[in-house]
Symmetry: C2
Subunit: 365 residues, 2 copies
């Protein structure tokens, strides 16, 4: 009799499979509520760009055809926008697939990856699935990145360092000076993978100009996504920018039709919808100011954010998460390591108001 | 200086990256033609199902949200349609991702996969990218599957046998008797991955009832897709049906949001569009009869097909491919191993007529 668990091996059998949440409609039915407000997944609350919508509808009839294997039009437009060469870009089914390609292509037997914690858990999950592991360096007080700690944690076996900036779930960021210092001090055959999923929301003046650094540091790889400020989470399109030879290697491991055609069409159109992007950033900035003010009024400590979510100390994260859910507000509880916190995505004005109203109720204020 | 090629290793550096064809629009511009007929990728010539179109348009405004990580509604509907349990299903970015998940999850250091040739080259490419290899057993005269050859080629290291049925690019198939005999004779810890991408087009009476066999053979995994008869190639949604524990292992390696939400919505609606499926099969059957007749008239030998494409012997495949291209018909030339052939996808009536007209011209008949 076949033993699939044994064949998969300990690394995979030990992985805790992702537990998907119920669809919102099912949740609403169970909880007996009308319209739940979802502030759990750092999605863009404004919907999808109008130009993306139009482009999809116009092209639907051709969707019996396979996608363009090289994301031809999207590649052309994005390369021009970023000022990079077309062969310095690779697209994936969200940033997740880019992370996966990096690990599968470059992390070989016995080599490891490194990041700070708390950060994007997917780095560790993918490393484990690939028979490797992620070493995590604890952040400093206030969830500041500990670059000295990272440097000390690098070993002969370290192959990739994942640096989410701004970081998820903390919303904190690091400056260009710190990044340059880190790039200068690590071995130049270590890939420094900069995960900039939330870059469009950043307003800090000393945030790194990573595209500029790319020219000097061949071991730097930048990851970005259309899932956040561009409003296209359902479509799954992330990308990386890096040295052409490194991208070429990733491209050999990538499946040719990995990025579905509607995603390519939507992302290409979204790049032209500057009005949508502007409104997304404005909505986020205004929501951030409002939530900061309300948290201050409630005496709640929060972590200043450069992204589209806020980590807020509510005392008992699990209880507040559960109680908010019953009130029709879905936020994110992040587990025992961040037991006092919930992470709330910044929504529209009315969503933020509703969240604060329910938060007050749950906290008895 | 970082050496990405060295870091990727010989297996990956030696992979020949997929060379995507130009977008049809660019090709038309280059060739100075108006409307090229594409019969190259075994796509459904009828477009996408009307019900899928409607469902997408209705749900577009919500596409700022992440996909359902477990394909909740698609899973429910498909499990019911197939009469399998929900935990016996896994969805992927096309069948390609299912093949990739199978190899990444179950093929460990030194283990190999096996298939017959010519077949779907992706089995070999993915195996190589994963540091493994695919052994290929040559088909018999007339592209019949050589099961005795396969049995003899199994080694201690063989972990997965990929059996495309009907096979691509030959269109040939094998019967239930041959499959059962093979399942009975191989080690029961070898995964037999049955790739049924074209099953909806099959009309052979002795074709295997693979879902029935699944109950007896725990090492059998069935792969199917929405890219062909369901008309959804652009969306990228394939799936596997197998033993729950095997599926559970694949699920641990799978990225939670691998199948984009529009694909889930389109596939769910397509399952209800029985009229589209019926028309697709009818169009294919009629096209097949027409093309057989025309090939006979032209004195061309072809391989009888159970799929939506025909392998036809045109003498000099490369020349005919090139000449057809200039005439605005895109077929597939399959390389020196099948130098005398081109593979033509069965199109609509007018596409088939156009192809035959141009084929006659190219062959000087």
């Amino acid at each position: 009799m076949i033993d699939y668990k044994k064949l998969a091996g300990k690394n995979i059998a030990d992985l805790i499979p992702y537990q998907p949440g119920k669809p919102i409609k099912e949740l609403e039915r169970e909880l007996g509520i009308k319209k739940a407000v979802k502030l759990a997944s750092n999605e863009n609350p404004l919907g999808i760009p109008e130009k993306a919508k139009q482009a999809i509808i116009e092209n639907l009839h051709e969707m019996n055809r396979y996608p363009l294997g090289d994301a031809y039009y999207l590649r052309e437009k994005l390369a021009e926008k970023l000022g990079v060469k077309k062969n310095e870009l690779i697209f994936g089914t969200g940033s997740n697939e880019i992370i996966e390609l990096l690990i599968r292509t470059f992390v070989k037997n016995g080599e490891t990856v490194l990041s700070y914690a708390p950060s994007f858990s997917v780095y560790g999950i993918i490393a484990q699935a690939a028979g490797s592991r992620c070493d995590w360096v604890k952040m400093k007080e206030g969830f500041e990145m500990d670059f000295e700690g990272l440097k000390n944690a690098v070993t002969d076996k370290t192959r990739i360092v994942f640096l989410a900036n701004p970081n998820n779930p903390t919303g904190t960021y690091f400056s260009e000076d710190l990044l340059v210092d880190f790039l200068e001090s690590v071995r130049d055959d270590i890939i420094v993978a900069l995960d900039e999923a939330y870059i469009e929301y950043v307003d800090a003046g000393d945030y790194p100009d990573s595209l500029k650094l790319l020219k000097k540091y061949k071991n730097l790889v930048i990851m970005r996504t259309f899932s956040k400020a561009y409003g296209l989470a359902a479509f799954r399109v992330g990308y990386a920018i890096g040295d052409a030879e490194g991208i070429d290697m990733l491209n050999r491991v990538r499946q040719p039709f990995n990025v579905n055609m509607l995603a390519q069409i939507a992302a290409t159109a979204a790049l032209d919808d500057t009005d949508f992007l502007r409104r997304s950033i404005k909505t986020n900035r205004e929501g951030k100011i409002y939530l900061y003010k309300e948290f201050n009024n409630l005496g709640l400590k929060y972590i200043p954010t450069q992204a589209n979510f806020i980590l807020v100390n509510v005392g008992d994260g699990k209880r507040v998460f559960d109680e908010l859910l019953k009130e029709g507000v879905i936020v994110r509880y992040l587990g025992p390591g961040l037991a006092e916190y919930v992470r709330v995505s910044i929504g529209t004005e009315s969503e933020n108001n509703f969240f604060i109203e329910k938060l007050k109720k749950v906290l008895g204020k």
